[in-house]
């Protein structure tokens, strides 16, 4: 059976690539500390020596559109092109290219359907910054095959928060029952409080530092029950109009498990948003 060697939850700040590669006058004052934190976070994945990455993210109206909108979608393709014209334009992100792990994609689709998730699939998926950003931060050599999993945190009606947690639990069960001698890491990205296109956007901090504090506590302590008792589709509007991306953190809490304390926690308070980085080692440490 495959082994789940790391569970990683992160924000996916699209400006990291530009900030970390800028030099001279173009380099923002917060870049050096940001790079230091990301490189320390990267080490938590490197130490786990994964063979395969399951990448959970959310399409930002790139390939998935309102005429045909899936709630949860698994990519099943031998390769994936990545990043889109408007991400190059706005964030300076590079074009990227990934190899797919089709056997695990097929396994997650078949077994996920049988476990009660009516997963959509795609055989030709161009992925976006919700998945490329964590590759840039955590695995810049981009040398491992991936299984992309997209969630709808963007176009209401959305699935309930508990459904994200349940999907996370199911992904863990499926990874651990996959009959392959592989070391698998599950990496998912979302947001803490975030506002985009509204009056609270691009402030000196995230739009709701108190929500961020509670969110970091829920995640780092594995307090799924406490989180589910306070977070609803309605409540997520309050910290910022793009905060439904927090549900991908909830999905990752489902992967990590109830009460699972994160082995690594770091945050970075930037203008506009709080960065947050979490790693769990499900089997009690890095072998």
């Amino acid at each position: 059976m495959a082994e789940l060697v790391a569970v990683i939850a992160s924000t996916h700040h699209p400006f990291y690539y530009r900030a970390s590669t800028a030099t001279g006058e173009d380099r923002p004052p917060f870049a050096d500390e940001w790079v230091r934190k990301v490189e320390a976070f990267r080490e938590t994945l490197t130490k786990a020596r994964p063979d395969v990455l399951v990448m959970v993210g959310s399409d930002h109206f790139h390939q998935l559109w309102l005429d045909n909108m899936p709630q949860f979608l698994v990519g099943k393709a031998p390769f994936y092109d990545a990043n889109w014209y408007n991400e190059e334009r706005e964030f300076g992100l590079p074009r990227m290219f990934f190899t797919g792990q089709e056997d695990l994609s097929a396994y997650i689709l078949r077994e996920g359907l049988d476990a009660g998730f009516d997963l959509a699939f795609s055989n030709e998926l161009r992925i976006d910054h919700s998945i490329t950003c964590p590759i840039i931060t955590l695995r810049p050599q981009n040398d491992l095959p991936i299984v992309p999993v997209y969630t709808n945190i963007f176009a209401p009606p959305l699935p309930q928060p508990k459904r994200f947690v349940q999907l996370g639990r199911t992904i863990r069960e499926l990874v651990e029952s996959w009959p392959a001698d592989k070391r698998v890491a599950v990496i998912g990205t979302g947001h803490l409080s975030l506002e985009l296109g509204g009056p609270r956007q691009f402030g000196p901090h995230g739009p709701d530092p108190e929500f961020d504090r509670k969110a970091v506590e829920w995640i780092s302590s594995g307090d799924i029950e406490g989180c589910l008792s306070e977070v609803t589709l309605d409540s997520l509007h309050l910290p910022g109009n793009a905060t439904h991306g927090f549900m991908d953190f909830m999905l990752m809490m489902g992967v990590a498990g109830e009460g699972a304390k994160a082995d690594y926690v770091d945050t970075y308070d930037l203008f506009h948003t709080m960065e947050a980085y979490f790693t769990w080692y499900p089997n009690g440490g890095v072998a």
Partner: protein, 119 residues
């Protein structure tokens, strides 16, 4: 209300570099052309299978023709689509992050709950 069509305009223009420039330079003409020629296109399908029923309401057409992004927010257009396209058109005219902060200031009158964006 045709929030879906507002979003379809923002979505299809944002992903086409030529349309981004055309909408920046000639918003009313671009909106009129788009509603006549593009609004009913079923994306990824040939023209013979276009839809037949999509049109803007007057307030929506005026908001798009006026580059009136606060009004688009009030009408329930998806804020991410609006923000992304308007950054593409107007960030270049401002100091770094200047357009984004002006955008927030022009929406400062909006209070919770924000307009519903469900389509």
């Amino acid at each position: 209300m045709s929030k879906y069509l507002l979003n379809k305009f923002l979505f299809t223009v944002d992903r086409d570099p030529e349309l981004v420039e055309r909408y920046r330079e000639d918003p009313r003409g671009t909106v009129e052309w788009w509603e006549a020629d593009y609004a009913n296109r079923l994306l990824s399908c040939h023209g013979g299978e276009a839809s037949t029923w999509l049109r803007f309401e007057d307030a929506e057409r005026e908001a798009l023709a006026g580059h009136d992004y606060p009004r688009l927010f009030e009408l329930g257009a998806h804020p991410f689509l609006t923000l992304t396209l308007f950054i593409a058109m107007f960030e270049r005219d401002h100091e770094p992050m200047g357009f984004q902060t002006e955008y927030a200031r022009r929406l400062a009158h909006m209070t919770m709950p924000y307009p519903d964006i469900a389509t």
